[in-house]
Structure formats: C-alpha cells, structure tokens
C-alpha cells in the first residue's frame, strides 16, 4: 500500500489545509501503518520538546579560565617549536646552498682556510679601527666613548635576551 503523501504530512511540520487534514484523518482511521507512525512521532515529539536543556556541572566558567592558561602555554610552546623548526630548516637550506655553491669550484680545506682567514681579518680590522679612533681622540673622550659603546652593547644584549626569554616563556599574543 502506498502511504504517500500521508507519511510526509505526518512527519513534515507544515500546516495542512482543512481539506488535507480531513483526508489525513480519514486515512488514519483505516491505515494502521500510518496511525502507528503518527502516534509514535507525536510521542517522540513530546519527549523532544519536554526534555530540558542539560546543565554543565557547577564551575564550568572557572574551569574554562583555568584551562585557558594551560591552553595558552601549550600554544606558546608550539609557537616556539615552530619558530625553531623554521629557523633550523632555513639555516639548513642556506647552509646547503652555500656548500653547494662553494664546493662547486673549491676543496673543503680551501673553504675552511678561507673562512678562518676572513674571520680573523674582520676581527683585526675592527680592533685596529677602534684603536685608531681612541688614539686620535683627546682627554677623557676615549673613556667616555668606551663606556658608551660597552653600555650600548650590554643594553642590546639584555634586550635580546629578554625578547628571547619572553618569546620562549610567554609566547606572542595574537590579539
């Protein structure tokens, strides 16, 4: 037996016209299948509409606030790990490219000697520059300059250290 459109009328919550209501009522008096469906659905609907909202255990918001700190810390740790990973990957790629470029026409020993000589040359040149500068200045100026340079270097080192510490332990606030 075809139970359409009666099943649709029973289960869809659209308003039926008086004529359709009459047809449905007549059908329900003769069809057990549709009558059972109608009674069942009305019972289910009653249960659904009369079941109250489930409540969380007391202190839900406090638990959220507590978990917020833990979640933020976890997020910061992930940021640090990601940062280190990207830096390492970047350095690795740069090193790889450099090695590939250098080894194309030089031996490993040549590269090491060249690197060391460049580094030592740079340090010597810097020291000579500062020595000449201090010698050319008169009176207390070299000492003042030395103090200023040292202070600047210390402040920059502390600033860098603090930034790294903050990034590692506090993370970056996205907001």
């Amino acid at each position: 037996m075809d139970h359409q459109p009666f099943e649709t009328w029973i289960l869809n919550q659209t308003e039926l016209s008086e004529k359709d209501k009459h047809i449905l009522d007549n059908h329900l008096q003769t069809c057990n299948h549709c009558q059972k469906l109608s009674v069942s659905w009305k019972s289910v609907e009653h249960e659904l509409t009369h079941t109250p909202l489930a409540q969380p255990k007391p202190g839900f918001a406090q638990r959220f606030i507590a978990s917020l700190t833990a979640r933020r810390n976890l997020q910061h740790q992930e940021q640090v790990l990601r940062f280190l990973l990207y830096c390492s990957a970047g350095a690795f790629i740069a090193l790889g490219l450099l090695v590939a470029r250098v080894f194309a026409d030089k031996s490993l020993l040549d590269v090491v000697v060249s690197l060391f000589s460049s580094l030592i040359g740079f340090v010597l040149e810097t020291l000579t520059f500062f020595s000449n500068l201090f010698n050319s200045l008169q009176g207390p100026l070299p000492i003042i300059l030395w103090i200023l340079t040292t202070t600047t270097l210390v402040v920059l080192t502390i600033g860098l250290g603090y930034s790294l510490w903050k990034f590692v332990f506090k993370g970056v606030n996205k907001k």
Binding site: L11, T30, V44, F60
Partner: protein, 198 residues
C-alpha cells in the same frame, strides 16, 4: 538591555578582555553544553567538547561576523566539533550504562524526580543514538533551540532543502525506533470498510 550587555562583552572580548569573555562563557555555557551532551551522549565528553568550543570561539572571536547571531555562531562551532569527534572515533557513542549511573552516588536515596529525569535522558539518548551525526544535530537544533530550517542550514553549513530532508529522515527513524522500543497498541484493528471505533 541583555543584548546591549552582550554586544559590550563581545566588543571587549574582541579587544582581548578575558573577563568579558568569561561573562560570555557564563551566559552561553548551558546551550553549548546541552548541544554537546545531546550530540555525544556522555557528560565528560560533553564538558570537554563545550570547553573546546569556547576555546575555539576565544581564538576566532575576531573572525565572528557581527551580522550573524552570536549563539548561532557558537552552536555552529560546537556542532561541527562534535561531528568531527564522531568521525574521528568511529566508536559507539552512547554509553547507556554510564548514563543510568551518572549523578547519584552509590547508596544515596534517589528522589523520584531524579529517577524520572534519568529515565527521560536514557530514552532521549537511546532515540538519538541511531541517527547519523548531521541528522542528530539538525534534530537537536530544531527541538532544543527552536531554530528554523534556515537557521539550522546556516549553523550546519547545509542548504535549506538538505536540512528539510535530514529532518524528515530523522523524524521517520525516530518514530520507527519508538515503535520498536515501545510497541503501540491501537484502540482497535480496523478494516478499510469497517466503521471507526469512536
């Protein structure tokens, strides 16, 4: 008044004010928790899912479209999270035995109201447990939150016609489940040509 306060909290929360967000959590904890509970069927899982929902909302509050209802946005996050959890687990989601034990300690006197509430919970969970995830979400949003088909479509990211067909299919399944669990005795068997027994 409430709407103004809500808008103010939202504004402050967008600026990173944790106290304002806590007020939002306090206001919406019950609807969010209820959706998670009806979807997952376990109080512990529902608590975790509701907490995760608020965390996701906290992280993404700057992406919230002010043209939409805030509760619809929150419920959308919760519904999608619960559906994802089901997909990941692929395990039986409703533990009826646990449900019947929940809330009352062993040996404690059980008031009639609590028993009745637990029975109702048991019945609802056993009915909902057979539904596919999105159909269950549609039913919960329709009957606990009184959402229209358009609102459900917006919340679940479906078309209105998909919501209509899901609701129809879910109602059919629920009615069949009811018939099999609680056999219906009709007043009188009628023949097509017999007189109505009224």
């Amino acid at each position: 008044m409430v709407k103004n306060l809500e808008a103010e909290w939202l504004e402050l929360a967008c600026q990173g004010n944790d106290e304002a967000f806590t007020m939002i959590v306090q206001t919406y904890q019950t609807p969010v928790y209820n959706l998670c509970y009806r979807m997952l069927g376990d109080a512990g899982d529902a608590e975790d899912a509701a907490q995760e929902t608020f965390w996701r909302a906290y992280q993404g509050i700057n992406r919230y479209d002010r043209q939409r209802s805030f509760i619809t946005w929150l419920l959308s996050i919760a519904a999608h999270y619960c559906i994802d959890q089901h997909r990941k687990r692929r395990l039986p989601t409703f533990n009826i035995d646990l449900l019947t034990q929940e809330g009352v300690p062993d040996g404690a006197p059980v008031p009639e109201r609590v028993v009745s509430q637990r029975e109702q919970d048991h019945l609802i969970h056993s009915l909902l447990s057979d539904l596919p995830d999105q159909d269950r979400a549609a039913i919960v949003l329709r009957y606990w939150y009184d959402m229209s088909e358009e609102e459900i479509a917006q919340t679940l990211a479906l078309t209105v016609s998909a919501v209509k067909s899901r609701l129809y299919r879910a109602r059919q399944l629920l009615a069949k489940r009811w018939q099999s669990s609680q056999p219906i005795v009709l007043p009188e068997e009628r023949s097509p040509h017999g007189s109505p027994a009224f």
